[in-house]
């Protein structure tokens, strides 16, 4: 029972309280870049969730099964980035072969995920938070992805309506998006009390 409770609180914490985008500032580039339309934002969110789950789990396994027993922590960053790059490549090949429609809808987003700092960031946070069970690492990775999807979809919804608003000329584009993100992050601070 304790484990289940721990997993649920961990999941909620990484989705709402420690949201990767709004409190840790990870994945800001796609957040600003592809939050123009809800369908694209959702596609990007799904792709990120998928790769994040895969690479979060894999890097945790590699870290605990290979690097720490062998005392090779120094090569951690190089290994992590290699794992992420290959995970993205594998996912791309797999989707192209077995789910062509899904592959077409992801389009350019898939290769771009390699340089999405949310993925590497989550892998590093798993290490930093001292996560010591595989199950917890998986749950937190899925949660991180869902948190990203939620944040980017909310932002896309707001920006679709923002198009009808008279924004001062110098604030159009990235500035108003950042200011909106700020207000959104303020709103998410309200979740801090729920656990």
């Amino acid at each position: 029972m304790d484990t289940v409770y721990l997993l649920i609180t961990g999941f909620l914490s990484v989705v709402l309280i420690n949201n990767l985008v709004l409190t840790k500032f990870l994945g800001i580039c796609p957040y600003l870049g592809v939050s123009g339309r809800i369908d694209m934002a959702f596609g990007m969110g799904l792709a990120v969730t998928f790769v994040m789950t895969l690479s979060g789990t894999l890097t945790w396994l590699i870290d605990h099964m290979v690097l720490i027993p062998l005392g090779l922590e120094v090569t951690r960053y190089v290994c992590f980035i290699l794992v992420i790059a290959s995970a993205v490549q594998l996912v791309e090949m797999y989707l192209r072969k077995f789910f062509p429609p899904l592959y077409d809808s992801f389009g350019i987003f898939l290769p771009l995920i390699t340089t999405n700092c949310a993925i590497l960031g989550l892998c590093l946070f798993l290490n930093l938070w001292g996560i010591d069970s595989l199950l917890e690492a998986v749950v937190l990775s899925v949660g991180g992805g869902i948190g990203f999807t939620m944040a980017i979809c909310i932002m896309a919804g707001i920006r679709e309506n923002l198009r009808m608003v008279d924004v001062p000329e110098c604030l159009q584009g990235a500035p108003i998006t950042l200011i909106t993100a700020g207000i959104l992050s303020l709103a998410f601070m309200g979740f801090a009390g729920i656990i």
Binding site: V74, E169, A174, I179
Partner: protein, 206 residues
């Protein structure tokens, strides 16, 4: 010969100045947003972060420039990333050894320099096409632009958010700190308004 060297000096000068304003990575190209937002609650970590990026940028530009004739097109991004990851590891270890408190404060944002778009962008756009010297100048200029942008942002947030600058009290005792500016909200809002200001200045000038 004289004109040639004049032209050369001109190229270097242009490259050197580009990063500070015209192609400032943060304020004009919107690259490297994650560290910009994450480490700018105070000036000291922002400056440390800037120096780390300068170090990694110079080293990776030199390496990429050296191997630019051996790169295979489809493997080049992977080679860039691996080069950068190696130098980031070195920077992280140096920081841990000589500035342990800063290393703790910056946390995972030092390793995250690996996926900082500025460095890959410069490797791709400059170092993989140009000789070493020009690549170094380019790296210094871009790094300086990044550091300056970070320090401006951090300066605004630290002075208004805590009433201090570089940990020294600068605002009068009666000043009530705008605590929100030290929180994630402040990062988004300050950068948003700063980008708006830059857009305004650019428009006035042209």
């Amino acid at each position: 010969m004289a004109t040639d060297s004049d032209g050369q000096t001109c190229v270097y000068k242009n490259t050197l100045l580009a990063g500070l304003w015209r192609e400032n990575p943060v304020l004009r190209l919107l690259l490297g947003m994650c560290p910009t937002l994450a480490v700018t609650a105070a000036v000291k970590p922002a400056f440390t972060m800037g120096m780390c990026v300068v170090f990694v940028l110079v080293c990776s530009n030199v390496m990429v420039s050296l191997m630019r004739n051996m790169l295979k097109p489809h493997l080049r991004i992977l080679m860039f990333t691996l080069t950068i990851a190696t130098f980031v590891t070195i920077a992280d270890l140096l920081l841990k050894a000589f500035q342990p408190d800063m290393s703790a404060a910056l946390g995972p944002y030092v390793p995250l320099i690996i996926v900082n778009c500025i460095i890959i962008a410069r490797a791709e756009a400059c170092a993989s096409k140009n000789p070493i010297l020009l690549s170094i100048v380019d790296a210094l200029s871009m790094g300086a632009g990044f550091t300056v942008a970070l320090c401006v942002l951090a300066g605004i947030r630290e002075v208004l958010g805590t009433g201090k600058f570089f940990d020294i009290q600068v605002m009068p005792k009666a000043f009530v700190p705008w605590a929100a500016l030290s929180m994630p909200v402040g990062a988004f809002l300050t950068l948003g308004f700063l980008l708006g200001l830059v857009a305004l200045i650019t428009k006035k000038r042209s």
